[in-house]
């Protein structure tokens, strides 16, 4: 019988909706909770487990106690095999050490596939624990998802795991574990580091590509995109600018400051608010007609739900599809190799509303029609 490991980082992603750009470190986690953040990762793990439920009698699920796996697994209808650790109890905060300890156990008592729910920080811990000893697959649940070890969606992670359990021959490949330095990230500087590689089962189009860099020679086109956007700005409207180097050029060209990885709000005349949370956005769009300007993040093709979670589903719904401007360098579109844009807002009705063809600004007076997948 196949053995499937599950490790949930219970606090992964809590910094996202409150605009904290990550959840590493106890202090930030407490700050996030104080700002009203709700843990998300167990819900994402549950989405993945749903796809495995029909197969539950054909494999053994191995998971740590409490919030690191057991609780969610039981809620989803599994009877997991517990790890022999008693110190983790429901409600306890967990640390990187706990993830590493659980990972080491699963490498020493090898599982056939290790599913983990978290972000880049969790991926680093898993890498530290298992290296390339066992195949691993990430359920995207963190704020920062730059590593190529994550499925495109929690559901997709479940589907890949299900295929693995069914014994379908899946190719394994080494995928990058990449993380940003959160300290410098919050200060507005992106420093990406490659931490290593995990063995990841590969199903075409279901894993996220490593984020593609933007070479300097593209800066002229980024400027022309900015010119096109600025030309379209109307008085009385507010413009919600998502993170990304392409969107930052718009603020630069307007002569306004922009936080590199935060969501910022402007009018044609000036800054309305920098580095806003979802709650603040909801407040602002109550009072002003608004447009959202976003760019796909690197090679992943996500336009909502990765790195810009502050623009939550209720914000998108209120602003409306017709008021979303997607901007992108054509290199980033080409790097998707024909795969559509992805959205993962956390609300499937909003994801559905976004699906379909969308105009993307790729230069001054230049647009392409690109598809957003469900």
């Amino acid at each position: 019988m196949k053995r499937l490991g599950l490790i949930i980082n219970p606090i992964a992603g809590i910094g996202g909706r409150v605009g904290l750009k990550g959840s590493d470190g106890v202090e930030i986690q407490q700050k996030a909770l104080a700002l009203g953040a709700q843990p998300q990762s167990h819900l994402r793990a549950a989405q993945a487990l749903e796809a495995l439920l029909p197969l539950r009698d054909t494999f053994e699920l191995v998971t740590p106690p409490g919030a690191m796996g057991d609780t969610v697994a039981r809620q989803c209808g599994f009877i997991p095999h517990p790890l022999p650790f008693s110190s983790w109890e429901e409600g306890n905060s967990t640390s990187a050490e706990d993830t590493i300890r659980a990972g080491r156990w699963m490498a020493d008592h090898p599982v056939d596939l290790l599913l983990f729910a978290g972000g880049d920080g969790t991926a680093r811990d898993i890498f530290a624990a298992v290296g390339t000893q066992v195949p691993v697959l990430g359920i995207p649940a963190g704020v920062k998802i730059h590593s190529a070890v994550f499925a495109t969606h929690p559901r997709a992670a479940g589907e890949i795991a299900a295929a693995y359990v069914r014994g379908e021959r899946l190719q394994l490949r080494e995928a990058e574990v990449v993380d940003l330095d959160e300290e410098t990230y919050r200060a507005g500087t992106v420093i990406t580091r490659l931490y290593g590689y995990l063995q990841v089962p590969h199903v075409a189009h279901r894993l996220q590509n490593k984020k593609a860099p933007t070479p300097a020679s593209e800066s002229v086109r980024a400027e022309s995109i900015a010119a096109a956007v600025i030309e379209s700005m109307q008085p009385g409207w507010i413009y919600i600018l998502g993170p990304g180097t392409t969107t930052r050029v718009i603020a630069d060209r307007l002569g306004f400051p922009k936080t590199l990885i935060g969501v910022d709000v402007y009018t044609r005349e000036g800054v309305v608010a920098l580095d806003v949370s979802e709650a603040r956005l909801l407040e602002l769009i109550e009072r002003h007609p608004a447009k959202i300007i976003v760019t796909p993040i690197g090679g992943q093709g996500f336009i909502f739900g990765r790195g810009n979670q502050q623009i939550g589903p209720r914000v998108i719904q209120k602003v409306g599809r017709e008021n979303i401007l997607v901007v992108s360098l054509s290199e980033k579109l080409n790097a998707l190799k024909g795969e559509p844009f992805l959205v993962d807002t956390g609300d499937s009705s909003v994801d559905e509303m976004l699906a379909g063809y969308m105009q993307v600004i790729v230069g001054y007076w230049e647009k392409v029609i690109y598809r957003i997948a469900l």
Binding site: A216, S217, G338, I369
Partner: protein, 520 residues
């Protein structure tokens, strides 16, 4: 007698390498190629001071800064440059996909150089140039038959010039209907030639580009999402650069017509469809040909080419002027065309190239043209089968389907396996006296290679090209450093591309080069 051992395959090659300077650097002050004799005294007395007879504005203030050289040094310079070259007259030039590098019969060049052609002047009275006007008129009749269009203008100077003529006519058409301001968008596809997007933008249109669907066809659903009452026209290359036959092209035309837009067919390269399909039969309103692709007039290193713009009956009034008319007795230039978009270039077209294209078509006849397309398609599919046997290459999109006259291949697998990129492979091919083109930038197909064998090459030629390609691909797996350090047998080693992004380091004239280098 001992037989000579057979030549290896691929052939050994080393390019002539003269390290030839720019001609300005060969300047020898005082050297002369021709000593012009003094004017005889009798003539001098009769004519007087010739320079004084020239208008002041035409007289130079100082001597031109031309290089001073003897005849033999000039000859040697250009003979050497001609050897530091690749191309269809030297080797197998099938790697310049989409460009249609076919053989240009030399007899057509001879015709164009004959005094009957070369001594003509475009300012001559039309009664004295009835011959070339007849050639132009008759070529128009051929192109009408080939495309199904109502009329053609041969005025455009090349392909982009023809596309620009077509965009201008699109604008004039919509303006004549009072919809000029409303229709400010042109739709094109990512695998159409980028001149379509570029010309539309130059003409003041906003451009919307369609990406292919999963099978590599232009995405019909995306087109339907793109067109609206703002659509002026669809500009589409067909077949696209992928070489895939688009069986739904009529639906594309209909989708644009439904919203009141025009459908414009870029068939610069019509090599795969001559005598097989016609633009007008698919419902297109306009099209253009490059005479220097499909109709064999040479590309001539970027010019002069020749373009031909064709239109449906509704667009005839907007054609560039003059048109060439024939009343069954004499040919005349018609300038009285009030709705015309005017002139696209000086005079009436690149007359020498028009003559070459006319001669080429006359030498083949209707059946010959169809045979051109059939052999081009056959050659391409032979090549395709052989190329796909090489390790590391693939043909993206439309799996299992054949291609028309060209293929955009991908070396993505080879790059994953070996770390060697398509541009490096291309550079190594130069060591065999061949080359290939990747694709327009930015790449949509990863690690691309675009091959188009045309009808001009024999099976043995294709086999030789494949042998070279196979050897280079093999080296990627066994001795990648040979490729990384290529070319080894060529004139110029690897060039630094970085200055392409730095206008301060551009110098397109000797004077600019001197000014910019002296500044440092």
């Amino acid at each position: 007698m001992k037989a000579v051992s057979p030549k290896p395959m691929p052939k050994r090659f080393h390019q002539a390498s003269w390290d030839e300077p720019v001609i300005f650097e060969l300047n020898q002050p005082g050297a002369r190629g021709v000593l012009v004799p003094e004017v005889e005294s009798g003539i001098k007395q009769e004519v007087g001071d010739v320079a004084a007879k020239l208008p002041e504005s035409l007289r130079r203030k100082s001597a031109p800064a031309l290089p001073e050289m003897s005849q033999i040094h000039v000859l040697r310079h250009y003979a050497r440059l001609s050897q530091e070259n690749l191309g269809v007259d030297l080797n197998i030039d099938i790697g310049q996909g989409t460009c249609t590098m076919k053989y240009s019969p030399k007899v057509n060049d001879q015709l164009a150089r004959s005094p009957k052609m070369a001594d003509l002047h475009p300012l001559q009275d039309e009664s004295t140039v009835q011959g070339i006007l007849e050639v132009m008129w008759r070529l128009e009749q051929f192109l009408k038959e080939i495309s199904g269009m109502e009329r053609f203008s041969l005025q455009p100077g090349a392909g982009s010039s023809a596309i620009y003529a077509n965009v201008s006519m699109v604008r004039a058409y919509h303006e004549s209907r009072g919809e000029g301001a409303q229709r400010d968008e042109v739709v094109t596809t990512i695998f159409s030639h980028p001149s379509n997007a570029a010309c539309a933008k130059v003409a003041g249109y906003k451009v919307i580009t369609i990406y292919p669907d999963a099978d590599g066809y232009p995405d019909l659903a995306a087109l339907k999402a793109a067109v609206s009452e703002r659509t002026a026209a669809l500009f589409i290359t067909n077949p696209e650069d992928t070489g895939i036959f688009n069986s739904k092209i009529q639906e594309f035309v209909q989708a644009v017509h439904t919203v009141g837009g025009l459908a414009v067919y870029d068939q610069a390269n019509a090599n795969g469809i001559l005598g097989i399909t016609r633009a007008r039969d698919a419902g297109f309103d306009m099209c253009h040909f490059n005479l220097h692709k499909t109709f064999s007039t040479p590309h001539a290193c970027g010019g002069p080419g020749a373009g031909a713009s064709g239109v449906s009956p509704a667009l005839v009034p907007f054609l560039p002027k003059p048109t060439i008319e024939f009343d069954s007795k004499r040919y005349r230039l018609d300038f009285d065309r009030p709705q015309s978009v005017g002139k696209i270039r000086p005079w009436y077209g690149v007359a020498q190239n028009i003559l070459k294209a006319y001669s080429w078509i006359m030498s083949l006849g209707a059946e010959g043209l169809r045979e051109v397309a059939e052999i081009a398609v056959l050659n391409n599919n032979y090549l395709l089968n052989k190329v796909l046997e090489i390790q590391g290459v693939s043909m993206p999109y439309a799996k299992g389907k054949r291609r028309i006259e060209q293929v955009r291949y991908s070396w993505e697998q080879l790059t994953k396996d070996t770390g060697i990129h398509s541009e490096e492979m291309e550079t190594r091919m130069v060591d065999f006296g061949m080359h290939y083109w990747t694709s327009h930038h930015p790449y949509v197909v990863p690690e691309p290679m675009t091959l188009e064998p045309t009808e001009s090459y024999s099976q043995a030629d294709l086999d030789e090209y494949i042998a070279a390609l196979k050897q280079v691909a093999g080296e990627a797996y066994t001795e990648p450093d040979t490729i990384r350090t290529a070319p080894h047998n060529s004139t110029v080693h690897q060039t630094n591309h970085e200055p392409f992004d730095k206008p301060d380091e551009w110098a397109v004239t000797w004077r600019a080069y001197k000014r910019k280098t002296q500044k440092q």
